[in-house]
């Protein structure tokens, strides 16, 4: 059999090869996106609407649609996440209840994105009858973001010194007042960070909004709640399906780069939010 020293060399080589392959893959991904994406970008591209099913023209309305649905999602998710985490932190006293709550959130987090789309389709588009609607898209994205935002806020609340709560209650503040004046301000960094991270994910999602909020052609600026919009991810999807056409492909890369830039924007915002909003005790 092989000697131990020989086995050591083989193993070391194997890990080195694995590293090499992994780095190669990661570098290729980043490189392709940056290079192909940049070459397709121009101010024109960013600010004009698309034509001929996307193979020419720009992505102005797609950017708008993506931002619109994302911001809507953020606005919906923030109060819900905040309320839920306050409830969990301050009112749920049983460990078991908390565990179940957390489990539900993790479960929600693990649901495949297309199921959210399916859910939205069944519940909102058909049963409630809203039809294609950007607003519903925002709702669904908010639902997707909820676990991320809530868990981040809960974690921030967990970190609050027990002293704060006890002192507040000793001073005669009610639970609501404690929550309002002490807990919430101290956990804002978690909430904001969580929402921003959730937004970074949500803005890139295709499947959830694919058949409930978007239309490929004809969508411009919505004038009511019940209209579809164009978004970047669905645009990329449509372009990718025309892969044989180099012009379409080029625009797909440009749209991808823009999308990733938006994702990066939200992620950076989350990073800075965490740094600037953290209470002094945690810095």
């Amino acid at each position: 059999m092989f000697s131990r020293a020989a086995k050591e060399h083989v193993f070391a080589a194997a890990t080195r090869i694995a590293l090499f392959i992994s780095i190669g893959i990661l570098a290729f991904l980043l490189g392709a996106i940056i290079l192909r994406g940049l070459s397709a970008l121009s101010l024109d591209f960013l600010f004009t609407p698309s034509r001929s099913f996307g193979s020419s023209g720009g992505i102005a309305y797609q950017i708008l649609g993506s931002l619109l649905t994302a911001i809507t999602a953020g606005l919906i998710a923030t109060p819900v996440a905040l309320g839920a985490s306050v409830y969990r932190s301050e009112y749920m006293t049983s460990q078991r209840a908390r565990r179940i709550f957390d489990l539900m959130l993790y479960g929600l987090n693990g649901v495949p994105s297309i199921i959210f789309g399916l859910f939205g389709l069944i519940l909102f588009v058909n049963i409630i009858g809203t039809g294609l609607s950007w607003f519903v898209g925002g709702i669904i994205l908010a639902v997707m973001m909820l676990p991320t935002a809530t868990l981040a806020t809960v974690n921030a609340m967990r970190g609050i010194e027990k002293n704060y709560r006890e002192n507040a209650l000793a001073l005669g503040l009610t639970r609501e007042q404690t929550a309002l004046r002490i807990i919430i301000p101290q956990s804002l960094h978690g909430l904001v960070t969580g929402v921003l991270i959730g937004l970074a994910r949500a803005i890139g999602e295709t499947a959830p909004i694919m058949f409930i909020a978007t239309a490929f052609s004809g969508a411009t600026v919505p004038t009511s709640l019940h209209e579809p919009v164009a978004t970047l991810p669905t645009h990329i999807l449509a372009l990718a399906q025309q892969a044989a056409d180099p012009a379409a492909l080029k625009n797909a890369w440009g749209a991808s780069f823009t999308l990733i830039a938006l994702v990066a924007l939200f992620s950076l915002a989350a990073f800075f939010a965490r740094a600037r909003l953290s209470p002094y005790s945690r810095r």
Partner: protein, 279 residues
């Protein structure tokens, strides 16, 4: 606070989803569900090809990404270079933020082309291609989590083992990996769940063929997964029809599987703490 409502709704959302899915007309075409033919026009809704596709693609992805990820993570965690760790971590964080549709684009523009050229085939839209793209997608997750797990093994174990005259690979096999086993398993489950649930990237490169490949293990044929099927046909099927409900049923199965995986991963992470650490 209306927060009690909110919490209840969080739970209710999931349950509602499932109830919503009981639109399926299980009564009408139940028998055909377990067949292997999917043809809405002839009222046949065999879901086996899609089920098979999902599982096979997931297996390919894990078979590629897990060994690659674990070995790379071992290198990174055991290396003395803090710089390498730093660079890898940053790169992995960036990659984690890339939307799945972009992976799909890469699959279409590069991987499927390479597979077709490399294996001299007419098209690169194959089960294999989908597996490869998925592997690339879950690699960052596996890498980060496994590297964390290995780094968290206390140094003192390694030191004692080395002092006994064990080679690095023996230290890793007999001391480090057993200690990190639980976390690595949780990471694998997480990656598995993501692989099963991924839609866009798979949809674009799998070829959309609703048939079991023949022979069964022919990775070089086109295929279909639950997610790619849903992605393609939900828009085309009428709400309330048998077609639609069959699709919903597949979705339901998928959710149940992913929920089970999540629960398993959670249970794994929160089990009683392992051997008491005097160290």
């Amino acid at each position: 606070m209306g927060s009690a409502l909110i919490c209840a709704s969080l739970v209710g959302l999931i349950i509602l989803t499932l109830i919503g899915q009981t639109g399926p007309v299980l009564s009408g075409h139940f028998s055909s569900l377990w067949g292997t033919v999917w043809n809405p026009n002839t009222d046949q809704y065999g879901i086996i090809p899609m089920l098979y596709g999902s599982i096979i693609v997931m297996l390919i992805a894990m078979a590629i990404a897990l060994p690659l990820g674990v070995l790379t993570a071992i290198y990174i965690a055991e290396t003395r270079s803090a710089r390498l760790r730093g660079i890898m971590k940053s790169a992995l964080e960036v990659l984690a933020g890339i939307p799945s549709i972009v992976y799909g684009l890469i699959g279409v523009a590069y991987v499927s082309v390479w597979v077709a050229k490399g294996l001299d085939l007419q098209t690169g839209r194959l089960i294999l291609t989908a597996g490869i793209i998925l592997a690339v997608m879950i690699l960052p997750t596996i890498l980060t989590l496994t590297e964390d797990a290995i780094s968290n093994v206390p140094e003192i174990y390694r030191e004692n083992a080395r002092a006994l005259g064990l080679y690095r690979h023996e230290v890793i096999k007999d001391v480090v990996l057993p200690h990190a086993k639980r976390d690595i398993l949780a990471a694998a489950l997480l990656a598995l769940g993501r692989a099963l649930g991924e839609t866009m990237a798979v949809m674009l490169v799998i070829g959309s063929l609703d048939r079991l490949p023949s022979p069964l293990f022919n990775l070089l044929s086109s295929g279909q997964t639950i997610t790619s099927k849903l992605g393609r046909e939900i828009g085309e099927s009428a709400f309330g029809s048998a077609h639609f409900s069959a699709l919903v049923l597949m979705g339901l199965i998928l959710v149940l599987i992913t929920l089970a995986l999540t629960a398993a991963a959670q249970w794994l992470i929160h089990r009683a703490p392992r051997e008491a650490a005097h160290v």
